[in-house]
């Protein structure tokens, strides 16, 4: 049950923590880095609530161990806004009423941000397929799709931003 040191780079900032090998990235982010924006639903890779971006890829943070993320660039929902200004996708979620209880929202945001930053020209069918990765128990999928689609339209028009 011994703890081992590891440094996680989250939203550009290093977090030197000591955790057991068995601790998942999701738990380490919440409990050790004190970044509770990442939510945990099923804890076995089905719901997608814990989706974060690791080296540009959307991944389930409950299916990675914290020690595996050493040296990686991790992005969580806390890193989306710039100061008081929401990320355009966060604003789009508000504008399109794409959240009700909000539990799944951080996961959906990180999933969509990762997918569309990499592939801004994604087709509508591909977008639906991507969003099918995560679960929303308020069943707000139609509005989530609207919010992402609206942001995707502005993304496709603009040059891709440099990864943070």
């Amino acid at each position: 049950m011994s703890k081992h040191p590891v440094t996680l780079t989250v939203n550009g900032r290093p977090h030197a923590i000591e955790v057991e090998h068995r601790k998942t990235l999701a738990d380490a982010l919440r409990e050790d880095c004190r970044l509770t924006g990442t939510h945990l639903g099923c804890e076995h890779g089905v719901c997608g609530a814990c989706t974060v971006i690791v080296d540009g890829a959307p991944v389930r943070a409950c299916l990675m161990f914290a020690h595996q993320a050493e040296g990686a660039q991790i992005r969580t929902v806390e890193g989306l806004a710039t100061g008081e200004t929401l990320h355009p996708l966060q604003q789009s979620f508000i504008d399109h009423h794409a959240l009700q209880c909000g539990f799944c929202t951080p996961g959906f945001l990180m999933l969509a941000v990762a997918a569309l930053e990499r592939d801004p020209e994604m087709s509508d069918a591909e977008l639906v397929e991507v969003l099918s990765s995560n679960l929303c128990r308020c069943t707000g999928y139609v509005n989530i799709l609207k919010a992402v689609r609206a942001w995707a339209a502005t993304q496709a028009a603009a040059p891709a931003p440099a990864p943070a």
Binding site: E20, T24, E43, P58, M64, E129
Partner: protein, 294 residues
């Protein structure tokens, strides 16, 4: 929902990983590749390894390369690597097509081709590809390296010819004939769910006749396999929907489908027929504007 304690190792070479596995296998040491199946099994306490040997930090182990008429897939190559064709050979398009059916995007970003083969879920798309294309599996163990043919690899659900102290280091898939076309069909109840039935067909057309036919069936029986009887019925014949239906009918009685309360064996048998017909039809329409005669 938290994994039991274990010791994590992050070796930097295959030799180091193989040695760690050999030293810990008896106690329950396991290789950790993408972790998209093993980690949930650990969270559910179905698996509780003493040691995990994470092979994703080994430089170059995620390489996918063409050599000697085959595609060699390293043990750490992830599903997402196949999203765009990895080779101009028709095999590249086949792998890209099948890849889209594996779970969901975040799972494809982490899970590995070779990990799927080691897990050997009967509903695994890559396991069906390996069986249909006669893959070769390359193992490293205390007795040195050895190779296993895909036909000898699958021994049942989640059971393979791998010994606990052996590590799968790579899989090679033979390149396809340059005129080969493929068709893949799978059925599941929701997008990204485990398949209930799937088929993969690979065929070349010469003067309107089918040759080099390969037909594999997955998710129906307890392991994926080539349907050699069906392949023989198709070889040298002109493709038609009626022939495909005839072939499907001929193979169904000899199948030994898995069954559970939600999907009885007879249901899966019927689904196998549909998957076979649709995979064959897709193979013949995919790259050809010509319509298949009814």
């Amino acid at each position: 929902m938290k994994p039991a304690p274990f010791t994590l190792h992050r070796p930097r070479s295959v030799a180091e990983a193989a040695a760690l596995l050999a030293a810990t296998a008896e106690e329950g040491g396991l290789i950790l590749a993408g972790g998209q199946t093993l980690t949930p099994m650990m969270a559910l306490r179905v698996a509780f390894p003493s040691d995990l040997i994470d092979i994703t930090a080994i430089p170059g182990l995620d390489r996918i390369e063409e050599a000697g008429g085959a595609l060699r897939i390293g043990a750490a190559a992830r599903h997402a690597a196949f999203r765009r064709p990895v080779t101009a050979n028709p095999l590249g398009a086949l792998l890209a097509d099948v890849c889209r059916h594996i779970a969901h995007l975040p799972i494809r970003e982490r899970g590995t081709f070779c990990g799927s083969l080691c897990h050997a879920d009967p509903a695994s798309e890559w396991c069906l590809v390996a069986a249909t294309l006669d893959a070769t599996l390359h193992l490293e163990g205390p007795e040195g390296p050895r190779e296993v043919a895909a036909a000898d690899w699958f021994e049942g659900p989640m059971t393979t010819a791998r010994a606990p102290e052996e590590m799968l280091t790579a899989v090679t898939l033979p390149l396809l004939p340059s005129a080969a076309r493929h068709g893949f069909y799978e059925f599941n109840r929701r997008a990204g769910d485990f398949a209930l039935g799937m088929a993969l067909a690979v065929v070349s057309l010469e003067d309107g006749l089918m040759k080099d036919v390969r037909l594999g069936l997955g998710a129906v029986e307890d392991r994926p396999r080539r349907l050699s009887e069906a392949e023989a019925m198709l070889e040298g014949r002109a493709p038609s929907e009626s022939l495909f239906a005839e072939v499907a009918e001929a193979v169904l009685p000899a199948l030994d489908p898995m069954g559970d309360p939600a999907t009885p064996a007879d249901y899966r048998r019927d689904l196998a027929g549909t998957a076979i017909r649709r995979a064959l039809a897709a193979a013949l329409t995919a790259q050809s504007p010509a319509e298949i005669p009814a």
